[in-house]
Amino acid sequence: MATMIENEVPQGLNADPMIPQLYRIDRVRDETDDTFTLSLVPENGEAKISFLPGQFNMLYVFGTGEVPISISGNPAMTSVLEHTTRSVGIVTKAMGLLKPGDQIGVRGPFGSHWPLNEENGRDFVIISGGIGLAPLRPVLYFLMAQREKYRKIVLLYGARAPEDILFKKELERWRGKFDLEVQVTVDRAASGWRGNVGVVTPLVARAPFDPSNTVALLCGPEVMMRYAVMELQKRGVPHDRMYLSMERNMRCALGYCGHCQYGPGFVCKDGPVYRFDQIASVFGKSEV
């Protein structure tokens, strides 16, 4: 028996969402020893880039493979797409070797986004660790662009060492210009580092935000987020105002290859950004 098919393909996507669109590398910027930001422009010059902070793309390196990478650029910018990643696997290592002018395949954007427009008038506390700052950079761009709509904005950021801190210049600029409270901490530092040493989660306890009117955005290693959630709970931030960006093995990004399952959902379509109460039943359980 024939089946009824009525779905519409989401706008802005190719009819077959498995086919990558070609982009050209405009610029490669080394952020740290092993992380870099790619600026991409569509080969089809008419395509306008549009995404919501927190979403990701599937990036394809010719012949090597495809990986999910969160978008790290400014959401207000429609001509350039930015991705920040770390060389860690075969594909991201190959990606690190690409040069301006080279091509890359892009599918997306996919997934859920951070709550921003719906949270006017609140404090924001952003807790991130390591490369986890990349998907939060669009949030900072977005919040800084309309700084007056929000109250306190606090970024608590943990990195391995001072030389692993991402987006240093931007953080300094925003801190100076837009009343962004930035607290960075590193796991280890040689003498000469005058900032915090220690993990990021204890910073939550004394960060200046009003727990009764705060939205918390978390992205980083799962174990870091577990402790951060506990600290936020201690401060009294309700579960439905904590948002976490989760990571699993996204392959198709369309919700039907099964790889990115996380308990009752798929990270590629229900995530990557979850409101904490949506995943509380499985969060922190081992090997889910």
Binding site: T3, L22, R251, G265, E287
Partner: protein, 383 residues
């Protein structure tokens, strides 16, 4: 679970010869006719040119980790239950190329695979398999994105369902409310009747296309007694299921027992071989493989069936989220019976029993679910 079938009054009766004529009409209408046939000691789905290709006079014996073909004492064409194949292989091919890419001068071009629409006729689809198809429809067609390959193959299928008049040793469709009677999702449905020397099929029409086809096939009208007799056979099969699974509250029970010791116990037996996922008619996981030729100028992407039992399945940066048999089996079973309900609004299990039969060590999903349920009952009785 499935849409309500349109009602076309009056059942028909077909003799085995007339059933063959039905197949011939389908072939004449350019359908690729697929049905059960015997290969390598099992009933599998393949091309059939006529009813002669069907496993006449064969039945199967199934138990945990066991499958045997056996001769019947009659010439029943559908006198067995389900084998290792399911229909998903036709709509969701085990391996297929998605696209090719060519590179020259540092630039590349992606060439999508061209695909022709298919026109499959599935003969002998069981009630559990109709449900499995409808479940995979939800996965591939009803989400935010439509899988173009699945859609292409799925759109024009003509389905001839068969009611089960005997239950297999590992069957539990009755408890899953998915059989043994084909309720919806077919064009025509047959009940095979062998009684007092008579051999015929009672035919119900499920769609206009089914009724239209029947108009091209010589047949008789079924009497009320014929229909009642056939219905009794199916009802009798429902009473003889080899297994049963109590689905009442199963999702909540499993969520509550995500750290149950039973997962460790089943992990002691599970080989992580992934047989259960390959034979399961609803399992839909796939992976993609990117290949290049030696020159590095030609690349291809393939999509292949994958299994949550492989370690690579949950890989992220340098390691796997689920690396132990415990977590892999738990993921599979919780997906089938709990997560699936949250994901797609239906159970992911249709009670076909394949995962039990084809598990090399005979792990039984109904038994695993029962132990976890009984653990709760005992705990609450003691507490």
């Amino acid at each position: 679970m499935t849409p309500k079938a349109p009602r076309f009054n009056n059942c028909a009766v077909l003799s085995p010869q007339q059933l063959d004529q039905l197949l011939q009409v389908l072939i004449k209408r350019d359908y690729e006719v697929l049905g059960p046939t015997i290969r390598e000691g099992a009933v599998v789905y393949d091309h059939v040119d006529s009813t002669k290709d069907l496993p006449a006079g064969w039945t199967d014996e199934q138990a945990g980790g066991k499958y045997r073909l056996k001769r019947r004492e009659d010439d029943a064409l559908f006198g067995f239950v389900v084998g290792p194949h399911s229909w998903k292989k036709y709509v969701f091919p085990p391996a297929m190329r998605l696209w090719q890419a060519h590179r020259s001068d540092g630039l590349f071009q992606i060439v999508p695979e061209t695909r022709k629409a298919t026109k499959f006729a599935f003969i002998g689809v069981r009630a559990c398999e109709l449900h499995a198809l409808s479940i995979q429809d939800k996965v591939f067609l009803k989400g935010p994105y439509v899988d173009t390959v699945y859609k292409l193959h799925r759109e024009n299928i003509f389905i001839v369902a068969v009611d089960c008049v005997q239950a297999g040793g590992t069957c539990f469709c009755a408890s899953m409310n998915t059989g043994p009677k084909a309720a919806a999702g077919f064009d025509v449905a047959l009940t095979e009747v062998l009684h007092e020397g008579r051999h015929h099929f009672i035919v119900r029409m499920g769609t206009k296309a089914g009724a239209d086809l029947m108009s091209q096939v010589p047949h008789e009208e079924a009497t009320a007694a014929d229909v009642e007799f056939a219905e009794n056979l199916v009802a009798e099969a429902a009473k003889h299921m080899g297994r049963s699974l109590d689905v009442n509250g199963i999702k909540e029970i499993l969520y509550r027992n995500i750290e149950h010791v039973r997962w460790d116990q089943v992990a002691d037996r599970c080989l992580s071989c992934s047989n259960c996922t390959m034979v399961c008619p609803t399992c839909f996981c796939s992976t993609v493989e990117d290949l290049t030729d030696l020159s590095g100028q030609q690349a291809e992407r393939w999509r292949k069936w994958d299994s949550c039992f492989t370690t690579d399945f949950s890989y992220i940066h340098g390691s796997s989220v689920r690396s132990t048999p415990r977590s892999k089996y738990r993921q599979w079973m919780m997906h089938k019976l709990a997560y699936w309900i949250d994901q797609f609004g239906t159970s992911g299990c249709v009670g076909c029993g394949r995962c039990i039969t084809w598990c090399p060590v005979g792990i039984d999903i109904t038994e695993e679910a029962r132990v976890i349920r009984e653990g709760e009952t005992l705990a609450s009785a003691a507490g």
